[in-house]
């Protein structure tokens, strides 16, 4: 879900995704590369992201991931589910 969200703004390559998640989460979340790449492959297989090779600003060859329309729908689903879950947990903790 996190990867999908981060890609919502635009295509990124793997390192940039990890950086962005770290930055946007107020440095709370750190995605290890051991979990990032398997996750990216899973998103690819499910058809929620598409990947293509390109040249980065610093001239390196990088693989860019972008969100597909199915991926956008999936992101909405997962956010909705997460919010439901969070509400449920809050309700429980306040009870």
């Amino acid at each position: 879900m996190l990867v999908l969200k981060v890609l919502g703004a635009g295509p990124l390559h793997g390192y940039a995704i990890a950086q962005r998640i770290h930055a946007l989460s107020s440095e709370e979340l750190k995605v290890e590369e051991g979990s990032l790449y398997p996750a990216l492959q899973k998103l690819l297989v499910k058809g929620w992201v598409r990947a293509s090779w390109s040249i980065s600003g610093s001239g390196r060859r990088v693989r860019l991931y972008r969100l597909t329309s199915d991926g956008r729908k999936q992101l909405d689903h997962e956010i909705a589910r997460y919010e439901r879950m969070a509400r449920g947990i809050s309700a429980l903790l306040e009870a």
């Binding site: 390192y15 590369e33 790449y37 398997p38 492959q41 899973k42 690819l44 390196r60």
Partner: protein, 867 residues
């Protein structure tokens, strides 16, 4: 929908795996380079592996790997692979061939007609429950009117006519049909029209087959409108059937269809379109959509009840049955189906024996792979993985075997369709391995793989680790003994069945037919088709016919090469069989109050000499011209034995129907309807007393020169009447061989399959013993060193193996005896019932003895070093 896309992507990713792995590696390297602390990056290989795992469906990949591995394994043991795959191919092929035959007979009984299995027949049944021999034409017309549940009903009847085409005159089998025959079958012509015009005007034409059109006119379309002569009557060709259509009698192929409107013109003596007692028509049709057969049967029952009371002389007590087309009582199907069913059962047993043998061979190999499997398991391969690998192997064997089997069956079917089955009837049997047949082969391949693959797979998957060996020694041993027993039981059954088929064929070769086939030529004639025949009035014609027949005999006898000649109504060993009659002998009480049954034939003087049948008492018939002596018969020895208590026959009076006939001679017994039939009493009538328009000429000449006589015989006939065609000219040897064809085919199959099966069983036993003995080498070596005699050890091993084989053989033998007794209750040929088991026992012992003996040569010191 997303699921399908996901699966497609999974497969695509797997197929392009190598490229993706490279890309991932590059990507991860770039990530690592971009990181400030490259050393903190995890194990690249593991990340890659895990990333690719998240594709899911790795098992597809695993299967591909298994397949590649299996293929390599199979290539490394070419001999074993060849034995397994070829033996499976033969087993599956034999089954597929017979299945295709069934498929053709039942699912596609009318080639050329779509959905022909939907067509049904209506067969009248007499009060006593027997088939009445077909419907009469008026009866058919009633059925057509009364049975609304059928879309339409057509009638057809097989007839023989003389046809004079542009090229020649010949006698062919044609079909007399109702006018709506082709429309009921929903056939479109390949040329001209197939709908016979409704009125019997002079313009009514006939329909010919596509192949006849091509044969006689060069091209089917050229035939339309041409005139041919049928039984002397000129008729135009109205249309040509589609290429594949050969008629509606299973197993026969026709060339001519005649509308019933023309039956009066072509068969002037016949009143069949009006006569309710003239039966012989088959009634065929399709039910309307959604109408159950039961309703049609009810309507039919009502109709037959009405006819029974309205027309008691022809229909008293008659009912009728609606049958699936393949059940036609007068079709080729009934002739071959029981034999085919038996063959199929035997072939399935053969396949099972092959499976058992394959399981044994694979189990033997499995034991040598225990180490390999142990290593795999130690490296983390689960039991499921091992099982999957072995099942993939087995399935691979099965599929390749099925492919070979389909090829073999196809080849066999092709060879079968080229065989000329009968010189008399237009028999055609054209099974082909089509899609359903291929599916059947594949199914058998998979099923066989499951059967023989289970055993070694389970054994190996049960294996714990490398170390435990003593336990494993016993378990596969039990399994292998069980397999050997099963295989022995199946093998002995199949071999005995093969022996019985071969024996039945041998009987047809060895049995003295009681007449001399060599040197005889046969030819048929029928004056009805000639100008002379057309002019014959039914009553006064008898004398003219008599003198014609007498002149024919004279003319033939005068040929210098002819040693003897006779004419008969029927030839023995013919598919049509011989007519039977009930007679009484004056002065003797018949065993059956209705009269004693005897086979009959009508013959001229000279017949017995021509056939080479001795006259053991009395004399031959009086000459045809002799009109003074009383009615005569000649009986055979069996008749005299049974009905005259062996008192001298000449002089006795036989009563047949209204006639009293005098026995003038006794003939030797001979083969009449089939080789295996026990001798029946026989009564020969004389042509003089029962003159006929048609006959079969029998001439005897020097053996080897029969066929040369054909043109001379034709000359004589033409000399008497140029419009009289001579047909079905063949030698007696050819005629007899035709009769044997039904037994010849399975016999030929088994001549090949039998020894192969025996060889397979031997290989199986050899491998079992070789393997079990190699595992016990240390044991044997120790015993030898301690002073045991090699001979007694060998005997022990062989005896142990033979006990398993022996039990299997005993079971199989008993099963065959029970089935044989139930089916035929024939004689127990010692060659089969003793010879086959004995041969198999000998082969088994030899197959066990050889490896056992080889094992005795083991040397102790070398052995101890081995492990």
């Amino acid at each position: 929908m997303p699921r399908i896309g996901e699966w497609a992507r999974r497969v695509w990713f797997l197929l392009t795996r190598r490229k993706r792995e490279r890309e991932l590696r590059e990507e991860i390297e770039a990530h690592r380079a971009a990181m400030g602390e490259p050393l903190r990056f995890g194990n690249s290989l593991r990340i890659r592996e895990e990333a690719m795992d998240s594709w899911g469906g790795r098992w597809i990949d695993a299967i591909f790997r298994d397949i590649r591995f299996s293929v390599r394994m199979m290539a490394r043991m070419p001999l074993l692979t060849a034995v397994i795959v070829v033996s499976l191919g033969i087993g599956i092929g034999a089954n597929t061939a017979i299945f295709s035959g069934f498929e053709e007979l039942i699912l596609d009984p009318i080639p050329g007609v779509d959905g022909s299995s939907r067509y049904l027949l209506i067969e009248p049944v007499t009060a006593s429950g027997d088939y009445a021999g077909g419907a009469s034409f008026p009866e058919y017309v009633d059925m057509r009117e009364a049975l609304a549940s059928f879309r339409d009903l057509a009638a057809f009847r097989m007839v023989q006519v003389n046809v004079a085409g542009p090229g020649r005159t010949e006698r062919i089998f044609a079909v007399l049909v109702s006018e709506n025959y082709f429309s009921t079958l929903e056939l479109s012509p390949s040329a001209g029209r197939l709908d016979f015009p409704a009125d019997a005007s002079g313009d009514a034409g006939v329909v010919i087959s596509h192949s006849y059109g091509e044969r006689e006119f060069g091209e089917a379309t050229a035939a339309v409108g041409r005139i041919i002569e049928v039984n002397g009557r000129s008729v135009p060709i109205a249309g040509v059937t589609p290429k594949d259509f050969r008629g509606t009698v299973s197993g026969l192929a026709f060339d001519l269809w005649i509308p019933s409107a023309l039956s009066g013109a072509i068969f002037p003596d016949s009143d069949e379109t009006r006569n309710r007692s003239a039966r012989g028509y088959s009634v065929v049709g399709r039910l309307d959509e959604g109408i159950p057969r039961g309703r049609a049967q009810e309507d039919l029952d009502r109709l037959m009840a009405r006819l029974s009371s309205d027309f008691p002389s022809s229909n008293d007590g008659h009912t009728a049955r609606i049958l699936s087309f393949w059940r036609a009582p007068r079709g080729g199907g009934q002739f071959v189906l029981p034999g085919m069913a038996l063959l199929q059962a035997v072939m399935i047993a053969l396949l099972l024996a092959v499976c058992g043998n394959t399981a044994n061979l694979l189990l033997g190999r499995a034991m040598s792979r225990e180490r390999e499997m142990g290593i795999r398991m130690a490296n983390g391969a689960g039991r499921w993985h091992i099982l999957r690998l072995l099942m993939v192997e087995s399935l691979l064997f099965g599929i390749v075997g099925a492919a070979i089997g389909a090829l073999l069956a196809s080849g066999a079917a092709h060879a079968l369709s080229n065989v000329r089955f009968s010189t008399l009837l237009p028999v055609r049997f054209d099974p082909a391995v089509d899609g359903l047949g291929l599916l059947f082969s594949a199914g058998l391949g998979v099923a066989s793989a499951l059967v023989f693959g289970m055993v070694p797979a389970l054994h190996l998957a049960r294996e714990g680790t490398l170390g435990i060996r003593t336990r494993s020694r016993r378990e596969p041993h039990r399994a292998r003994r069980a397999l050997i027993t099963a295989e022995a039981a199946l093998a002995v059954s199949v071999l005995m069945a093969a022996g019985l088929f071969l024996d039945s064929f041998r009987q047809t070769l060895d049995t003295d037919p009681g007449f001399e086939p060599a040197g005889m030529l046969l030819a048929s004639y029928d004056v009805s088709g000639s100008d002379f025949g057309q002019t014959l009035a039914p009553e006064s014609g008898r004398n003219l016919l008599g003198s014609f027949t007498a002149r024919l005999l004279e003319g033939l006898k005068s040929l210098p090469e002819v040693e003897a000649v006779g004419i008969a109504a029927f030839v023995p060993l013919d598919i049509h069989g011989l007519p039977m009659t009930r007679v009484r002998v004056e002065g003797y009480a018949p065993a059956d109050p209705d009269g004693d049954l005897a086979l009959t034939n009508v013959v001229t003087p000279g017949y017995f000499e021509a056939m080479g049948i001795p006259l053991v008492d009395g004399r031959d018939f009086s000459p045809l011209e002799d009109t003074t002596s009383p009615l005569e018969v000649i009986v055979n020895e069996e008749f005299a034995r049974r009905f005259l208590s062996s008192n001298p026959a000449p002089g006795q009076i036989v009563v047949s129907g209204e006639e009293r006939l005098r026995v003038v001679g006794v003939s030797g017994d001979s083969v009449y309807r089939s080789f295996s039939e026990p001798v029946m009493p026989f009564v020969y009538y004389s042509y003089r007393d029962r003159m006929r328009r048609a006959g079969q000429i029998h001439v005897r000449t020097r053996p080897g020169t029969e066929s040369l006589l054909a043109p001379r015989v034709e000359q004589v006939v033409r000399g008497l009447d140029p419009t009289l065609p001579l047909f079905d000219v063949r030698t007696m040897i050819e005629h007899v061989e035709t009769n044997q064809f039904l037994r010849r085919i399975p016999a030929q199959m088994f001549v090949v399959l039998g020894p192969l099966l025996l060889l397979l069983a031997a290989i199986g036993i050899y491998s079992v013993v070789a393997y079990s003995v190699s595992g016990r080498r240390s044991d044997i070596a120790v015993r030898l060193a301690l002073g045991a005699k090699p001979d007694s050890l060998t005997r022990g091993i062989v005896a142990e193996c033979f006990s398993a084989v022996g039990v299997g053989m005993a079971v199989g033998w008993m099963v065959v005896v029970v089935i044989y007794d139930h089916l035929s209750g024939g004689t127990y040929e010692p060659a089969v019932f003793v010879g086959v088991p004995a041969t198999m026992a000998a082969v088994s012992i030899a197959a066990a003895w050889i490896p056992a003996r080889k094992a005795m040569r083991v040397e102790l010191p070398r052995l101890l070093n081995d492990d």
